[in-house]
């Protein structure tokens, strides 16, 4: 699967829909809530750090802002072990293959946070060298604006991502349950 063909997981997989069974749907919802709760409070970020936003990333990981309260503090520097790709700082065209490679190596479920104005849209660099936003090459789940964003903004972004994870569907058995 590549960036262009990752499907949005439908409420019921097309063509595999059994007649609506209340008990089954109830179980699916409860399962999604439980797995969503577990996943949102144990995020393992991969800090793909490039530029100035790194300063605010360091600040938000340390006291008094502390992402550890949200379960999102322990970084995993191997993409195989991480589930949240935080792209912190400008991604240039030279760095883009590296970003794509790291994202491709991450296993499902994975989420992407565009941390800062440069990761969101290229920031105020609009020239031959800068990628105009990482969503040109990988799908993004939450955009955190700012140049660099204040730590409170980052925490707001993490909390919104946690809401998104809580609301999503988490198929664990054959794409149906």
């Amino acid at each position: 699967m590549d960036a262009r063909t990752i499907p949005i997981v439908p409420i019921a997989p097309a063509g595999a829909r059994a007649p609506k069974d209340g008990a089954f749907e109830f179980l699916v919802t409860r399962k999604d809530e439980m797995i969503g709760w577990a996943r949102k409070f144990s995020l393992f970020p991969y800090p793909f750090v490039t530029a100035c936003c790194a300063m605010e990333f360091m600040a938000v990981s340390a006291s008094p802002y502390d992402t550890d309260r949200f379960g999102a503090a322990l970084p995993r520097f191997s993409p195989r072990q991480a589930d949240l790709l935080m792209v912190v700082g400008t991604v240039t065209h030279k760095q883009a293959p590296v970003l794509l490679k790291v994202w491709e190596q991450m296993c499902e479920p994975k989420w992407v946070m565009a941390f800062g104005a440069c990761a969101t849209s290229g920031g105020f660099y609009q020239n031959y060298a800068t990628l105009q936003g990482i969503d040109q090459i990988i799908p993004v789940d939450v955009y955190v604006p700012g140049c660099p964003p204040r730590p409170e903004t980052v925490i707001d972004g993490i909390m919104q991502l946690q809401d998104k994870i809580a609301r999503s569907h988490h198929p664990v058995v054959a794409g149906r349950f």
Binding site: A3, R4, H93, K94, A96, P97, L100, Q126, N127, Y128, A129, L131, Q132, D135, Q136, I137, I138, P139
Partner: protein, 158 residues
């Protein structure tokens, strides 16, 4: 350094007083390409200019000698800066390399080469350093449009 001491040093380096100028406390020499390496060697060995601070170029597209290569040297003993300016033509911009004299020339010449297209005779490693393999063109030339991007990775469909 005081203005008259700077002037004295300038006259010591170039006895014919008219060949150098003072610009905001920096001694400026305009040299022909062939004079560059001997001048730098002399500045380093006789006058203790031990730091090659900076190496860059300026693009004057309207001139026949289009590229002006600019070197900045600094002497930690005299605490004085020197700027050397050399012009090369657009058709075949080649100039001698300073790698044999200063280690810092290596990366700076690579940058100047990829940004302006100037070749440095004697520097055998002119791979791109700030740009990437496969980038076509020299972005800091005035005729390279600022927004011409050359992506390495194909974009997603929106």
């Amino acid at each position: 350094m005081a203005a008259n001491d700077l002037d004295t040093l300038r006259r010591q380096i170039v006895p014919a007083a008219g060949a150098a100028a003072l610009s905001h406390g920096t001694i400026v020499f305009v040299l022909a390409p062939a004079e560059l390496v001997p001048a730098v060697a002399r500045l380093r060995d006789e006058f203790a200019f031990d730091l090659l601070l900076d190496l860059t170029a300026v693009d004057w597209p309207a001139d026949a000698l289009r590229f002006e290569v600019v070197h900045h040297l600094y002497s930690t003993t005299h605490k004085v800066r020197v700027r050397l300016k050399t012009r090369v033509a657009a058709a075949d911009p080649v100039i001698d390399s300073l790698v044999a004299l200063y280690g810092s020339a290596a990366y700076m010449e690579r940058e100047c080469h990829e940004m302006y297209g100037i070749r440095f005779r004697g520097n055998h490693d002119l791979r791109p350093i700030l740009l990437y393999e496969g980038f076509i063109g020299h972005p800091l030339r005035k005729d390279y449009p600022k927004r011409r991007e050359q992506p390495l990775v194909p974009y997603r469909e929106a």
